[in-house]
C-alpha cells in the first residue's frame, strides 16, 4: 500500500549512490572501519547537513546477495521478490534475457566411468577451458525443434544455459544433487505444465554429455536454478519514476532492468559517472549509480584498498552535487567486512541529503557507528524508497 498508493507527479530528481559492500567492522588491531578511516570531507558535510540512519537490507542476521541487496534499495522487499539463480546468472553475463526464456546456472563437473559425480566443480577448470567446451556444445548439440539454445561462459566451471521458444516453463528441479558419489539427477518437472520443458532439457543434457564425455575433468554438467524473468511491477508503474542505472558491471545493470530501469553505457572509472548521469539528467527522474570497488576490496580483505575506494568516491561528490539532485542518498547494498572477506548481515549506513526537506540530526560524519543515532532510525532497507520519494515531494498526503 505505501508508498505506491500515494504517488504524485513531480519534476524532482533523486540520485541513489550505492557503494557496494560499504558497511564494515573495525579492522584487525584497530577500532575504526574503512569508512571511519577514509578522509571523506564531502560525505561528512552531507551527513552534517542531512539525515542519517542504519538500514537492514533483508532481515536481522540475514546476509544478502547482490540481488536481494539491490532489490531492497529499490523498495522491493527481498523476501517476496525472489530472483531465480538462472536469471541472476544471465544478468551477471549481460545476457539479454527475454520474457519466456528459461535460464539455468550451469556447472561443469567430473564424472567417473559409472557416471557418478566425483567433483561438482570439475577441478575449477580455467575460464578458457570453459569457453572451449561451450563452443563445442554450441555447435555439436542440436537444439530441439522450435527451441533456441544459448551456452554462455561465466567463469571457471560456471556457465549459463538459456532455452528460448514457445511454451517453455521454469518449474524444473535442479539436476545438481549437491553431493558427490551419485549421478546427476534427471531434469524433472515440478508442475504438469513444465513436462515438455523437462523432456527437452533431458534431451539437451544427454546430447551435451555425449559431446563432453571424452574431455575430463569437465566431462559432465549440472543445471540448477531454472528461472524465467519475473513479472514484477516496474518502478515507473509503482513510483512514477523514469529510472536510469549507471553502472560498470553487468550484474547491477541486470538487477536494475528487472525493475524496469533504463541503463547507460558502462563507465570505466567512477570519475566518468557524473557525465553519464548528466547525459540522462533531463530524461529521467531517478538515477541509480553503482560503485563496485568497496565490495571488491572487502572481499579481498584489503582494508587500505577499501578505504581508498571510499575516498575516491568522496572526490566525485562535488560533481554529483553539481547535477542538482533534490535528494541524494549514499549507502550500500550490504556490508562486506574486510575481516570477514565476504558479505555480511550487518546493517548499512544511509546518508540522505535533501536541502529543502531533510531534518538534520546529531550526526556530523558518515560512518557505521554514528549512523546508529541518525534521524532516519534503524529500519528495513526497503523503506528507503519511501523516504527518498517523500523528501523529493513525490508522495501525496494520506487521508484528510
Amino acid at each position: 500500500m505505501f508508498p505506491d498508493r500515494l504517488i504524485r507527479k513531480s519534476d524532482s530528481k533523486i540520485l541513489l549512490c550505492v557503494l557496494d559492500g560499504l558497511g564494515d567492522l573495525p579492522g584487525l588491531d584497530r577500532s575504526d572501519t574503512p569508512l571511519d578511516a577514509a578522509h571523506t570531507p564531502h560525505l561528512d558535510a552531507l551527513a552534517a547537513a542531512g539525515t542519517s540512519g542504519l538500514f537492514t537490507p533483508v532481515a536481522a542476521g540475514v546476509t544478502p546477495g547482490s540481488g536481494p541487496g539491490h532489490l531492497a534499495l529499490f523498495g522491493y522487499d527481498p523476501a517476496p521478490y525472489q530472483v531465480g539463480r538462472g536469471v541472476l546468472s544471465a544478468l551477471g553475463v549481460d545476457f539479454d534475457l527475454q520474457p519466456g526464456d528459461v535460464a539455468a546456472r550451469l556447472n561443469f563437473c567430473t564424472l567417473d566411468a559409472e557416471g557418478r559425480i566425483t567433483d561438482r566443480r570439475a577441478g575449477r577448470i580455467a575460464t578458457e577451458v570453459n569457453r572451449a567446451r561451450l563452443a563445442r556444445l554450441r555447435t555439436e548439440v542440436t537444439a530441439p525443434d522450435g527451441v533456441q539454445l544459448f551456452w554462455e561462459t561465466e567463469s571457471e566451471h560456471r556457465g549459463l544455459l538459456v532455452l528460448r521458444g514457445a511454451d517453455l516453463y521454469d518449474d524444473l528441479e535442479d539436476t545438481d544433487p549437491q553431493i558427490t558419489g551419485v549421478p546427476p539427477l534427471a531434469a524433472e518437472a515440478s508442475t504438469p505444465r513444465a513436462h515438455r520443458t523437462a523432456t527437452l532439457v533431458g534431451e539437451i543434457i544427454s546430447s551435451a554429455m555425449q559431446v563432453l564425455s571424452d574431455t575430463p575433468p569437465a566431462n559432465g554438467l549440472l543445471l540448477r536454478g531454472f528461472a524465467s524473468l519475473p513479472d514484477w511491477p516496474d518502478v515507473e508503474s509503482r513510483y512514477g519514476l523514469r529510472a536510469l542505472a549507471v553502472t560498470k558491471y553487468p550484474m547491477y545493470r541486470g538487477v536494475a532492468k528487472l525493475v524496469g530501469m533504463a541503463t547507460a553505457a558502462p563507465y570505466e572509472t567512477i570519475e566518468e559517472a557524473p557525465a553519464r548521469l548528466r547525459t540522462g539528467w533531463s530524461d529521467f527522474d531517478f538515477f541509480f549509480l553503482h560503485f563496485k570497488d568497496p565490495d571488491k576490496a572487502g572481499e579481498d580483505g584489503d582494508f587500505e584498498r577499501k578505504q581508498a575506494a571510499i575516498e575516491t568516491f568522496d572526490r566525485s561528490v562535488p560533481d554529483l552535487l553539481a547535477l542538482g539532485p533534490d535528494v541524494m542518498v549514499i549507502t550500500g547494498d550490504h556490508s562486506t567486512p574486510v575481516v570477514l572477506a565476504g558479505h555480511s548481515w550487518h546493517p548499512v549506513p544511509v546518508l540522505l541529503h535533501a536541502p529543502a526537506t531533510a531534518r538534520p540530526d546529531m550526526v556530523e560524519t558518515f560512518g557505521e557507528r554514528v549512523a546508529i543515532g541518525g534521524g532516519l532510525g534503524q529500519r528495513p532497507m526497503c523503506e528507503l524508497m519511501a523516504q527518498m520519494l517523500a523528501h523529493a515531494g513525490r508522495l501525496e498526503k494520506f487521508g484528510a
Copy 2:
C-alpha cells in the same frame, strides 16, 4: 493482540496532549526548529524526568491527514482503519452523523452550456455564496420518499451532503471526474446493494442541478467520498478506557467520537482546557486534549507564531500537572514544518511523563533532534497507546 488482550482495571488517569502539527524542520537561515527555539521550561523539566521518543504517524515517508494522524495516537493503525472523506467532512462541521447515514463531500463547480465542467471549484466562491446556494437547495430539492437530506456548508466551494434513511449504502463511485472539460459522472453503485442509493443520489443531483442552473459560477455540484460511520471497536472495548476529548475544533471531537470518546464543550483558549479536564476528571480514565495553534502557524509558514503557540502551551503545563495524571504524554499528530507550510512525513517527538514508572533517558529537553536518542525509541505512533497503558498500570503480564 497487544495491548488489547492484556487490559486490566485501574483507577489511573492518562492525559494525552496533542500539539497539532508539532514536528518541524529548522527555519530558513537558522538551525533550530520552533520547538527548539521556544522557551519551554515546564516541558523541558518533564523531558528530563521522563522518557522521550520519535514516532512515525503512519509509515516511512507518509504524510498524514488529521484523521490518520489522530487514529494512530489512539492506537488505531491508520492503514486498516481508513475513514471516508464524507465522514471527515461531517466531523469537520460538527454534523451529528448517525450509523447508516451516507455522507459525501460536495464541491460546487462551474458547468458550461453543454454541461461540461470548466472549474471544479466554481472559482472558489465566498463561503456566504455557498450558504445561500445550499439554503436554496434545502428548500427546493425534494427529498426522496423515506429519506432525509442535509446540506451543510464547509467553506468556499466545499460542503457536505448527508442522506439519512433505511437501507442506504455508501458503496458509490464519485461523481467528480477530477478533470475539467467533461460532464460530472453519474452516481454509480460499486456493489449491488447500493443500486437504490445510487438511483436516489442521481435524482437528488439532477433536481439540485436544475435549481443551480441559473447561478453561475456555482451552477453545478460534484460529490465524492461517499461514506458511512465506520463500525470500529471503541476505546472502552479495546482498552477499558472511558475517554474524554477536550478540543476547540469540531474535526478533532469528530475523530475522537469515531473511537467512542465522549466530548467536552469546546474551549475558546487553551488556558480554559485544564478546567474542562477537571470537570470530567473523576468520570473518565483517558483524556485527549487537542491544541490546534502550532499546526495553524505551521500551515501559514509563521515560525514566530508557531514558537509562541508552543510557549503558550508550556505555560499551561503546571495546571495540567495539577490534575495529577499518572501518565501525561505531549506529542503531535504529525509534523507541519514552517518551511513547507503544510503537513509532512517527518516523525514527531513524544514526551512521556509518568513519575512512578517512566525510565529516564539521556534526553534533557523537548525537541525533534534530541528525541532521536530517547528511551521510547523510534517507533510507529500506533504503539504509543500500549506505552501509555503500561505506564499507567493498565496492562497484565503476558504469560506466566
